[in-house]
Subunit: 503 residues, 2 copies
């Protein structure tokens, strides 16, 4: 529990009487604070994006309530379509509306259809919008820091869904992979294969830099906790124990690095970095590696502290203090003692991540008085498979990267448990959006990816057979070409069945 702080008392009373004090800043008379290193215009754009996406999803339930009230009117199907078109921006499946008179409107099916439709609608709109950040610049910066590929594994938890764009403020294309696993427990063998692919590209094509450029692959693991309710709203996969989550992430990183070092000769290695996120404030904690690349649970920089300590400085002093904080962490004594400072590129990278995250702390500070109103789970759907690049908004989706349910089932179970509470308890189904990417250049790839979607859908429906039987599990399927900016293609469940029986 955080100790109460006198400095925040007036702020607390003013803005958020139900919560504890604003954990980030002390502002006077409700005037929003302004950190010298934060990016105000980007914060405005990100807010508009988040509100647009969330607004569309939030419109579903009120619209369905209005429909429910009118379902016995004579011209119901026509009324319903007018209402859906006006409130949601799309029309509803005709079959469900026309069958309403027989018994009553199948609300579960309709809710599932609306979520899937909203996902596709949002994806289309996101693609039309220009990208928020310059990814070439960031890629050059990462290369400067010594990294030709950055591979981030967050926890599947929906509160980390905004990790790349919001919390770390990285452009999408600058990150090689962002596959999420429950508790951030990524698959070491699959990750070694991804490393191999990246290496071959450097050797064969000199992309992004030739193999002899002296750069490295950087693997980041992101765990999380809740500062307001640490015992309940932390990582479900680690029983809300922050220490367990961090330790497990660190262990997996070490296994990955040793897998590379032991399986390949000629000094093959990778750099690793462990980052924690307080999902209430989006403040990060960076575990600073030492000169040997080793990290410790007891050696880190807390960005929330850094935000408070630099809020009233000018920009260059604030920047200096960021570097000093990294230096101070490296000098940690006792349990957290390491073998000196990390190499200069790693220091610059950490400083950039911390500075980027200062904007996010201010984003939460300015819009939600330093702490999200939804500190707990509030996801709208479960995203399964390769995941949507288009959706990176906090608490929008619980994202399980998986290739088969046989392997990823336990990760999916955590998501189903969460939705049992937030949806099934209220009689709403769990919407599961199955999404895989294919490679248009490879013959048969799309057909095989479609079959892959169908196989995963069947496996999910069989794993949660009772939910499925009651209409409390609604799976949608989409595929997308690997090329950036490709449209999302919805698959017909019927077409699926036809394809399956034709085999």
């Amino acid at each position: 529990a955080r100790p109460p702080s006198r400095a925040f008392a007036s702020h607390e009373l003013l803005h958020s009487p139900m919560h504890a004090a604003n954990p980030a800043c002390a502002m006077d008379q409700g005037r929003p604070c302004r950190h010298p290193l934060s990016n105000e215009s980007e914060n405005r754009r990100l807010l508009a994006h988040e509100q647009a996406i969330k607004g569309h999803f939030a419109a579903i339930i009120p619209a369905l309530k209005r429909l429910a009230a009118q379902q016995h009117e004579a011209d119901f199907p026509e009324r319903a379509q007018r209402l859906a078109d006006a409130d949601l921006g799309f029309t509803l499946p005709v079959g469900i509306l026309e069958d309403a008179w027989i018994a009553k409107l199948d609300m579960r099916a309709l809710y599932g259809a609306c979520v899937m439709h909203t996902i596709r609608l949002m994806a289309e709109q996101t693609q039309v919008a220009p990208p928020l950040q310059n990814s070439d610049e960031m890629s050059s910066f990462l290369l400067d820091c010594g990294y030709h590929a950055v591979d981030i594994t967050p926890c599947s938890d929906g509160r980390l869904k905004g990790l790349i764009r919001y919390i770390l403020r990285l452009p999408d294309d600058a990150v090689r992979s962002r596959k999420a696993y429950a508790g951030a427990m990524f698959d070491v063998e699959a990750n070694v294969k991804r490393w191999i692919e990246t290496e071959l590209m450097r050797y064969r094509e000199g992309r992004p830099v030739p193999a002899d450029a002296g750069t490295r692959y950087l693997k980041i693991v992101v765990y999380h906790w809740s500062s307001s309710d640490p015992a309940h709203e932390g990582c479900a996969a680690h029983h809300s124990n922050e220490r367990d989550a961090a330790e497990a992430g660190l262990g997996r990183l070490r296994e990955f690095r040793q897998a590379i070092e032991n399986s390949f000769c000629c000094g093959a290695s990778v750099d690793t970095l462990l980052i924690g996120v307080d999902t209430d404030t989006d403040g990060i904690k960076v575990h600073v590696p030492d000169a040997d690349g080793e990290m410790s649970l007891y050696r880190w920089v807390s960005n929330l502290t850094l935000y408070k300590e630099t809020l009233n400085e000018d920009a260059s002093t604030a920047r200096l203090k960021v570097y000093q904080a990294i230096q101070a962490a490296s000098a940690t004594d006792g349990w957290g003692k390491g073998n000196g400072e990390p190499h200069e590129g790693m220091r610059r990278l950490i400083a950039t991540l911390l500075i980027n995250n200062l904007s996010q702390i201010e984003y939460v500070c300015g819009n939600w008085e330093g702490r999200y109103p939804d500190i707990g789970h509030n996801e709208r759907f479960i995203s399964v498979g390769d995941g949507f690049e288009e959706f990176q908004v906090r608490n929008l989706a619980y994202f399980v990267y998986l290739h088969t349910v046989e392997e990823g089932g336990p990760d999916l179970d955590v998501g189903i448990q969460i939705f049992s509470r937030i949806n099934v308890l209220h009689g709403l189904p769990v919407p599961v959006a199955i999404h895989f990417r294919y490679d248009r250049r490879v013959p048969g790839s799309r057909e095989r990816t479609v079959e892959h979607c169908q196989r995963v859908k069947a496996a999910i429906e069989s794993r949660y057979a009772e939910l499925h039987r009651q209409g409390l599990l609604v799976c949608g399927m989409t595929v997308q070409d690997k090329a950036s900016g490709s449209p999302i293609e919805a698959l017909e469940a019927n077409g699926a069945a036809a394809l399956r029986s034709a085999r």
Copy 2:
């Protein structure tokens, strides 16, 4: 149907009155024929190996019959162990024997335990025996032909289980991969990943030759048919239709080649080769690529024909005729017309495979009058996972390479159908040997591989729940380090359950 041939009439009457004529050779008065290019001493060694392996499996049922007759004797457990030790070379699970008095001996469980024990016993004995062939020599020859890696996908069919050692006479280590799929329908994406791994090894470590050596990766697909009963004993995955099997194999090879060519720049490509096997005679049919690497269902060399045409030549004339047969195939006109001859390395490789296979034709000829007595399925167990390198004997095991049952299930279904006929119909269980390899050098790899075995076992028992419930499905689990010659380690099913519940 083969036309009856006058030349073989006396031979037929002499040796094999129930079958058609010996399809390979015409010999006088039962004197075994002797092809100038066949390797007699290797044939003797291979026969001894096959008989030893099959003999151990064949001993199981007689031993269990004797046990069954004695199960109500007072000192049954002790008698049974003496009998098992003498007849099978190992002792039986004590629990099953001691419970026999309660109702009766659980023959299904005992049969399953005997098959699993025999597998481990055979593996140990095989490892003690020196390898039959010189793999360094063959690897050099393959490099000379222009190939730094040879990757063979046969059908899962047990009659192809002796493909590498017997039918093609290749040393184990000379073949990079031999993963089997039902109907030889390999996973293109997984194979691209394997290609990437091979390429990176060349670039990083110059193994087996540097990337600029101008060599290629060779992918071979092996389909099969039955010349004696083509409509029933062909490939189950292709409804015993030889043409369908060959066409599907050719299509998959083209997809793989295009996947490589389209996904990687700088002239990346692979060579491909389609081979058919008549599982009655083990005679191969090689589809000769043209100068562009393209193959045709209508352009091939039949080795059974070549055997007959060269049986009475001296060695150098026979060798010349092999090359002429390849040349003649390349000159095929009409539907099979291609764009000239393949490159010299491919021609040498095909010639070597044909010559190697001449020994195998003679092996079948000398030991079984040119046609196996068991032309149909007669497998002893289903091998699942990475498969045992140690067992490469015809009709010993139906081998499904798979990573998950979710993906490999349809391949496994074909095997279960086969065993429904050859085992379940007689009340015997289907023995499924789950075997995966780990990498001792990678931390956590063995633990994860053990979990992988357990996950696959659970998925198999759930997919075939009714068989499992009746005791008609017995799964054994083993793991093995990747290093060649590592021991096979049996996993306790109990330990498995404990590990699962502890997660």
